[in-house]
Structures are given as C-alpha cells and as structure tokens.
C-alpha cells in the first residue's frame, strides 16, 4: 500500500501515472488518483473524495477509518460500482469498475460481496431464502442453491435457524446471515460497511472473528470501513485513515499504531491506546520548558520485540533516571504486542533518557512540560 505514490514517483523521476498503474497492478482492489466531485449549492464544486490512491493486496484485510462524512462510504461503494468516480480509476482484480456498464458491471458485482451496518436482509425471506437470493439472481439451478445455502448456514454458525425470519434473530445472527449471503456467489472480495457498528461489543468480537476466519480459510480480500479504531486493531492487516476526502495516512496496521504521523490518526488512536494524557496532566501541560525545576512529559512506544522488555527499570538501574508513569497500555495489533507509556522525567535528564530509550529501539516523543 502506498500512501502517496505521486510523491514517490516524483522521487523516482517517473510519471505519476506509471506509479499509479504499478500500485494497482496485481492488487485485489486498486484506487488510482480517484476523485468524486459533485455540484454543491451556489455553483460550488464539492469534493467528496480527492486523489485517493490505494492498493489492497489479495488476501489482505484493509481497514479504512474516518469520521462520518470523511468519504469512506463513497470510497467503499466505488469498489462495486454503487458510486462512480469522477476522476481516476477503481479496479477489482485489474478490471475497471468505474467504467463497467450493464452485464459487465453485474458480473463484477457478483464477485464482490458486501455486508451492511443495518444488515439489509429481506424481512419477507427466511434465513435460507436471504442467503439464496444472490444465487437466484445469478441464475443458479435450485438444487445447487439448496446445497450451497446449507453449506453457508453451517459456515457462519447458524445451524437450525434456516427457516427463521430476520425479525426473529438477534443482531449478531442477522449479520451472520448478511455474511453468508455476501459469500454465496464465492466472491474474491468482501466489502464491509460499518458491519459491526450496530452491534454490542461482545457480538462485535464474534462477528470480527468470523470475518478473520473467512479471510484466512478462503483467502478472501476484505475492505472494511469503520469509525472504530478497535475494529481496525482487531482484524485489519493494513489500514488507511481518511479525512475530508483524502487518505492522510496508510500502511500496515502495526506500523501506524506504533508510529502514527497524522493528527487525525493520533486522535483515533487516543480512544484505543494509552495515548491520551490524564486530565490533571493535560491541564498543566506547557509547550516549552518553563524556568525553574520541571518535568518533561514523554510518550514512549514499545514496538515489536521491545514491547515486553522492562526498559524503564533498566533506565533507572543503568542511568539512574527515575520516571513517573502517567498512563499506559500494552496492546496487541493482530498477533503483535505493542505498548504506549506516558512518562515524566526530570527535564534536565530528559534528552539523556530519550536517547537511551531510542538506542534500545523504542520510539519517544516529547508531549510538553509540567512544573
């Protein structure tokens, strides 16, 4: 995944288009310079998306996170042609979705499953009937539909519920029906539109686990949009942060969690990691070092193998620098642990402490000073 291929291309001194083509080649889903604009009130031009370039590799789970109105929903809907780009190209397995029409577009759509926040199940059809719908639409024979539907019901753990109507199911069960329905035509790509946003935390976990299993077992590429960082942390191998129609940061989820660069990413991370300062510190934080004795507030990120090393103890023993722990958490992104600690040390010893920690592979950032 490339955050800014135009810049990369400029460095490599090749035309930006060539870089974009390269980024999309071999990708399960490719966005190359994609924009979506429409006429707003008073003759203005509103850009819902601008110059989005993103490549999702086959078998990846890519999470796109953004606030409501950031354009993530438009971005997702371009992958199955529910929205069309006004500039750039969107490809699925190399085929141009944005320009596909009629039967060609419907053929692409049958290879792209989609699940929804509010499930969008037909109330008039049973569980089995809902799962059969895409197969009926594809013109499969009745016998094949019955067999496939039964397989899918077992696959998503809805045994015994084939004859129930959606109104008789819990939210988690409804989303399982949605997932089974999306998988019915054996798509290569699954789009998830805030699929867990209407579910309670526990149900969210079981649905995310099901998606991760499906990704692993079927090699299905998943593109999901969400406003919850926890969803990205729990299942996404890659992620992109979208703000005001632009991708501001993208890459492997672990790298972004441990080294967020953009303020929007950091504010999203604040909710799921120990990144936010406790209020009693935040209120006293000064941007520059004041006169007189003071403490430096430092954010320390432990990544990879260092996440489990007792670095603060070693700092105290080897350097004689004492640190106050203000906040912190050890988390897992996928199988990889990482930790975030907010500490304060004597401002005179701050640079030395940071140099020591950096030398041992930790990441540090000075957040400010307190008296």
């Amino acid at each position: 995944m490339t955050g800014n291929p135009a810049a990369d291309a400029a460095k490599a001194n090749v035309p930006a288009d060539a870089a974009k083509d390269k980024a999309a080649a071999g990708a399960a889903i490719g966005f190359a310079g994609v924009g979506k604009a429409f006429d707003g009130p008073g003759g203005t031009r509103v850009h819902a998306l601008a110059d989005v370039t993103l490549a999702v590799e086959p078998g990846a789970i890519c999470g796109i996170i953004g606030r409501s109105g950031a354009g993530k929903s438009t971005l997702l809907r371009m992958v199955n042609g529910l929205e069309r780009p006004t500039s750039g190209t969107v490809t699925v397995a190399g085929r141009d979705v944005g320009r596909a029409q009629g039967a060609a577009l419907r053929a692409i759509r049958r290879e792209v499953g989609m699940i929804f926040q509010h499930f969008n199940l037909l109330s008039s059809r049973t569980v089995a009937g809902n799962i059969a719908l895409p197969l009926e639409i594809a013109g499969e024979p009745a016998g094949a539909i019955r067999a496939r539907t039964a397989d899918l019901i077992a696959r998503v753990g809805l045994d015994g519920l084939a004859g129930r109507y959606p109104a008789e199911l819990s939210g988690g069960q409804k989303q399982r029906v949605g997932i089974a329905r999306a998988l019915a035509t054996s798509p290569r790509v699954l789009l998830s539109d805030e699929a867990t946003s209407a579910l309670d935390p526990e149900t969210t976990q079981t649905v995310l686990r099901l998606l991760a299993d499906i990704n692993r077992d079927l090699g299905l590429t998943i593109l999901l949009i969400t406003h919850e960082m926890a969803v990205v942390r729990d299942i996404a191998s890659h992620m992109a942060v979208i703000e005001a129609g632009r991708i501001v940061e993208s890459g492997p989820t672990y790298d972004i969690f441990t080294r967020p660069r953009h303020p929007t990413t950091r504010s999203f991370l604040g909710g799921v990691t120990g990144l936010t300062l406790p209020a009693f510190i935040a209120g006293r934080l000064l941007p520059a070092r004041p006169d007189g004795p003071s403490e430096e507030v430092i954010r320390v990120t432990f990544a990879g193998t260092h996440a489990t090393d007792p670095m603060l103890s070693r700092l105290a023993v080897e350097k004689g620098i004492a640190s106050n722990i203000l906040a912190g958490a050890i988390e897992e992104v996928g199988p990889h642990p990482f930790g975030n600690l907010l500490i304060s040390v004597d401002a005179d010893r701050g640079p030395e402490a940071r140099a020591y920690l950096e030398r041992h592979g930790l990441l540090t950032e000075v957040l400010g000073h307190v008296r």
Partner: protein
C-alpha cells in the same frame, strides 16, 4: 320483505361481486405495473425515466380528480366502443376499472416506496438487474402493503359498483334505487345496505388476514 325479493337480492349480490371482481382483476393488471413504474422511475431510481414518470403521474392525478359518477357518464362513448352498450354489468366494468387503475397504482406506489432503500442497494450490490430487484425485492417486501392497499381498493369498488346502479349498471345499487327508492320499499333498501355492510366487513377482514400472513417484519406475525 316478501319471499320473492330474496332471489332478486341474491342475483344483485352476484352481479355486484362480478363487477367488483372483474374491475379489481383488470384494475390490478394495469394498476400494479403502473404503480411499480411510478415508484421506480423518478430521477436516479431503478428505471429512471423522469419525464414518463411526470406525465403518468399527471394522468393518474387527473383521473383520480374526476368524481366517479362524472367519470361513468363522461366515458360512455368509450364504454360503448369496448362493450357495445353502456348499460348492464359488463358496461359498468369499464368505468370501474378505469377508476381502479390509478387508485391501485398509487396504493402500490406507496407500498413499494415503504421498502427500505438499503434492500435495493444490497440487491444492486449482488448484481441484480432492475427487473430482478422489482420482482424479488420490491414486490416481495411490499406484499403486506399491497394486500392492504388492494383491500382498500376492493372496498371502494364495492361502493362505486353501487353507484353505477344509478346510471344503468346492475347489482345492489340498482336494486336499492329501483325498489327501495323509486317503488317506496324501504325494507329492500335496508336489505341492500345490510348486504353491502357484510360484504365490506368480509373483504376487510380477509384482506387484513392475508396482509398479516405476508408480514414477517415482527415476530408476532410468524403465522404458525
């Protein structure tokens, strides 16, 4: 009421049922597709045809604005051209059908517009054609609403069918006017009214039961 009125009442009831059934079937045959089209042809919708939508919408509104008794008289030439006469049950079916079509079309349109737009999006995402979406999603999901709408239409047609009695149609309305009113036989008028009330009650409760059978939106309507 003397015994020889019973066969008259029975015959008039059958005539009314015939007129209502025929005009409901014909009215649905034309009104259902028209309603589907009206519900799916605005700009950006499945069958996007904004001009045709506007024109047909205007025609539907115009037809519905004409009081039924005026419609019956105004289309006598059309009725003659189709049936060969402007008198009798078959002739009455023409204005009844013509009144039923726009009425049923609007009821069907409303029922279809009640269907969650998310379901249309889901079906489009599955690669469904517009006609598959109409057949498998919109009509299937709108069935409870369409059943209630048709119930309303049948009840209205029972009333209209009595009105055509005044202008040469047959049936219960004709019986009530000729015997009850012109021959001063209030007991016939009362009998006609009672039969009409019973008919409407039967149609209404049957329609509601069918709608409830179709409606799977709430667990209480499981129907088993």
């Amino acid at each position: 009421m003397s015994a020889d009125l019973i066969p008259l009442l029975w015959e008039a009831t059958l005539q009314t049922l015939y007129m209502v059934a025929a005009s409901t079937i014909l009215g649905t045959a034309f009104g259902l597709p028209l309603g589907v089209f009206l519900a799916t042809s605005q700009r950006g919708e499945l069958l996007s045809a904004p001009w045709a939508n506007k024109v047909l919408g205007l025609v539907v509104n115009a037809t519905r604005s004409v009081p039924f008794i005026i419609l019956v008289v105004a289309i006598i030439p059309l009725t003659r051209a189709i049936v060969g006469t402007s008198i009798g049950t078959n002739a009455a079916i023409v204005p009844l059908t013509l009144a039923a079509i726009p009425f049923i079309a609007r009821l069907v349109e409303n029922a279809i517009r009640e269907v969650d737009a998310g379901l249309i999006e889901a079906a489009r995402a599955m690669g469904a054609t517009p006609f598959q979406i109409i057949a498998k999603v919109l009509l299937a999901e709108a069935r409870p609403g369409i059943a209630l709408g048709l119930t309303l239409a049948v009840v209205s047609l029972i009333g209209y069918s009595a009105m055509v009695g005044a202008v040469g149609g047959e049936g219960l309305g004709d019986l009530g006017i000729r015997y009850g009113y012109q021959r001063f036989m209030p007991e016939v008028m009362a009998a006609v009214v009672v039969v009409l009330i019973v008919l409407v009650q039967l149609v209404q409760s049957l329609g509601e039961r069918i709608a409830a059978r179709f409606d799977k939106r709430a667990p209480r309507n499981r129907g088993r």
